[in-house]
């Protein structure tokens, strides 16, 4: 099915028509028999790319599946997601990675790119079969033990060295377990002291970020810092980039807008790892995203079954939903960020970091047609029950967020039309 997208504003500037042929490629003239999508007043961006998504399949299909996670991603304006490796079983073999990749293709709503584990079983001891995962059909290039830190410096060093052979990157969950153990769940500060919750100090992240940039320099390899959450980490990153160290970093939408004081009522919806931080950190993260010290926004979309959140705060699961709301959160937290910068941090740079050649490209003839059309003036009040995700651990419920995803096009196919999932086979309507 070919498409004509009429009157879209490219990256918020100039109005133009976009043409997509039936191979899913942008072309320079309207193909015959094309469906017309009215994009008057809508901003066109390259489809969003999420470096950090938990799809829970295999293992916790009651919380999310690759299909429902893909649906949620499409509704959020995404055309590619990197599926984290901490499933059950862990994505630490070529077979496991290929299975995730295949299920993503079957769902067909976004490109699902598996992330491989750095270490076998996420145990932090022996390297997983990094090279075999890379050579598999899934072509894994991003490796992460996310949820756990590769805390052993020797293992981290070897992983960084090893993936150089094929241009891989290690995405680190930075948490020194001796400074922030498994119970740590509240930003360490006055509030954790008052609430009596085990503190998760910023320093536990910063010492790992500092160590890893030095390891990256020493090995001449590339490291990516997942979910940066503190001003101190930003300082380290700024220094490292000034030294020419090959480091990239992401920030989550929730760390750009939510603060630690939300924990005052012990609602596990707000329990996330790393924890929500004080306003000073939020401000530093925003500034770092604007000036490029932080390269990308990544959701850390982390669905959980209701009963895994209905425990005492310290016992409840870590994580919150975020992929359907990410763009709205970024627009709300950073209303002055240009649309070109939104595209940079949510599509172009993440695609480059993950090595996804078909993603994050200009909306120009010859390129694969992955795009999202956004109503820049709308606002959306989030309803957790309206989500495509199977889970409801949504910290944005009831909040009003700026802008609205109207249409999403993945590989030339409309996946979201008028803010709702497009019906399969309904393209000709």
């Amino acid at each position: 099915m070919s498409l004509v997208i009429k009157g879209a504003s490219l990256l918020g500037e100039g109005t133009t028509d976009l043409f997509i042929d039936d191979t899913g490629t942008f072309v320079d003239a309207a193909p015959s028999g094309a469906e017309t999508v009215d994009a008057d007043g809508l901003v066109a961006l390259p489809g969003l790319v999420d470096l950090h998504t938990h799809l829970r399949e295999p293992g916790r299909e009651d919380a999310e599946t690759i299909l429902t996670g893909s649906q949620a991603a499409a509704l959020g304006g995404y055309t590619a997601v990197l599926a984290m490796a901490n499933t059950s079983p862990v994505t630490d073999t070529a077979e496991a990675a290929t299975r995730v990749w295949e299920l993503g293709r079957e769902a067909g709503l976004v490109h699902v790119q598996p992330v491989g584990a750095v270490t076998r079983g996420l145990a932090g001891e022996e390297l997983a079969e990094l090279g075999l995962m890379h050579r598999s059909r899934a072509g894994v290039t991003v490796f992460s033990d996310d949820g756990k830190c590769v805390h052993d410096a020797r293992v981290m060093r070897r992983a960084l060295e090893y993936v150089k052979a094929f241009g891989g990157v290690v995405s680190q969950h930075s948490q020194d377990p001796s400074l922030a153990g498994p119970a740590a769940c509240c930003h360490e500060g006055e509030l954790s002291g008052r609430l009596g919750l085990p503190g998760w100090p910023g320093i536990a992240e910063e010492v790992i970020v500092a160590r890893d940039v030095m390891l990256a320099r020493h090995t001449g390899s590339r490291v990516h810092v997942a979910h940066v959450s503190t001003a101190g980490s930003v300082e380290v990153l700024r220094w490292a980039k000034a030294q020419g160290i090959d480091v990239t970093a992401e920030v989550t939408p929730h760390h750009l807008l939510l603060t630690t004081d939300l924990l005052v009522g012990y609602d596990p919806t707000y329990k996330v790892n790393p924890p929500l931080r004080p306003q000073e950190d939020v401000e530093a993260l925003r500034a770092a995203l604007v000036d490029g010290t932080i390269d990308a926004v990544a959701t850390d979309h982390a669905p959980h079954a209701r009963h895994d959140k209905e425990h005492a705060f310290v016992d409840a699961a870590f994580g919150m939903l975020g992929i359907e709301t990410a763009l709205g959160v970024v627009r709300t937290a950073l209303p002055d960020l240009s649309w070109a910068d939104v595209a940079r941090v949510m599509s172009v740079t993440p695609a480059r970091i993950a090595g996804l050649a078909a993603q994050g490209r200009p909306l120009a003839p010859g390129n694969p047609a992955n795009l999202v059309l956004v109503d820049p003036d709308a606002s959306v009040t989030v309803d957790r029950d309206a989500s495509a995700s199977l889970s409801r651990n949504n910290p944005w419920h009831g909040r009003s967020l700026s802008s609205r995803v109207v249409h999403t096009v993945y590989a030339g196919r409309v996946t979201v039309r008028d803010g709702a999932l497009a019906q399969a086979g309904a393209h000709s309507s």
Partner: protein
């Protein structure tokens, strides 16, 4: 009040009212027949997710002397490890028709969360490192029996503040009643951010127990000393080097006892580590109110259950 989760839930008037009720209840303890009919037909469940002898017995006797049907449910071990959510565990118990749920849980905030799930009145009998409001009420009640009004009185709280729910409830309760409070601990056993907290809440902090007992701090000599339990296992978290070193720095030793006026009450919430945070001489001194705290605890818990569950007081309680 619907629940008692935190000292913060109580107005100063409500605290005073609880003390007045507790005084009446205290008188009942001296009677030959101790039972009052106030809570006849009411069911109170003591749900303890953590070991406790004194608090559980205290609530059990308090409920029984008020004629409530009291059931103890031991739910030790995290419900997460059994695959049942905390919500399911408490809803199951409450489905049996419970009017009052007394909950002790090793996790901070558990009582707050539970109160949002159930219809029963919830009493926090200690949640992790967060609060233990009836302990603070009984401590203040006990001190008032010795000192009269706490307005302007100086209370020193000494020990493992980081892990102490007793400290967190007491510092709120005592400052609310007008007392001046100094909390004393080594830096490793002070909660994070206590500088900002103490500044906002108006209490003092010190690393030097001798200085505080000698009255060298801004509040002068203490009118009461409250010792907190220190767990020997804290050494494994590198909180302090050895029990011996702790005692030398922060124990209420015989030498420090001599620094106190003989009428300065010494409190301890129990169980005491004799020889660690409190010397036997201090624990058994005439000015020690440790056992009185236990009987005050009964009176306070009777008062709390009465106010939460008796409905509109009619015809008094005597």
């Amino acid at each position: 009040m619907k629940h008692l989760l935190s000292i913060d839930d109580l107005s100063t008037d409500e605290i005073i009212q609880l003390f007045e009720t507790a005084a009446d209840m205290h008188d009942v303890q001296g009677r030959e027949v101790k039972k009052l009919p106030a809570l006849r037909g009411r069911t109170v469940v003591n749900m303890f997710f953590e070991d406790s002898t004194r608090t559980r017995s205290s609530f059990e006797i308090a409920g029984k002397w008020l004629s409530a049907d009291v059931i103890n449910v031991s739910a030790k071990g995290s419900s997460a490890s059994k695959g049942e959510s905390l919500r399911d565990t408490v809803l199951t118990v409450c489905a049996m028709g419970v009017d009052g749920l007394v909950i002790r849980h090793p996790a901070s905030g558990a009582a707050v969360q539970v109160s949002q799930w159930v219809d029963a009145a919830v009493v926090n009998a200690g949640d992790g490192m967060h609060e233990h409001p009836t302990q603070a009420l009984l401590d203040a009640y006990t001190l008032r029996r010795h000192l009269g009004s706490l307005e302007g009185r100086h209370v020193a709280i000494v020990g493992d503040l980081t892990h102490s729910r007793v400290f967190r409830s007491n510092v709120q309760c005592l400052t609310r009643l007008g007392a001046r409070v100094t909390v004393v601990a080594p830096p490793t056993l002070m909660p994070s951010g206590i500088g900002a907290w103490s500044a906002a809440a108006g209490f003092e902090t010190s690393y030097d127990l001798d200085e505080v007992l000698r009255g060298a701090g801004v509040h002068g000599r203490p009118d009461a000393v409250m010792m907190l339990r220190v767990q020997r296992e804290r050494m494994s978290g590198a909180f302090f080097p050895s029990p011996r070193e702790y005692t030398v720095g922060y124990g209420l030793t015989r030498d420090r006892l001599a620094l106190l006026e003989p009428d300065v009450p010494i409190c301890h919430p129990g169980p005491m580590n004799r020889g660690l945070e409190i010397a036997a001489d201090a624990a058994d001194a005439a000015q020690s109110v440790v056992l009185e705290q236990v009987s005050s605890g009964l009176a306070i818990r009777m008062a709390v259950l009465y106010h939460l569950l008796a409905g509109e007081p009619e015809g008094g309680i005597a």
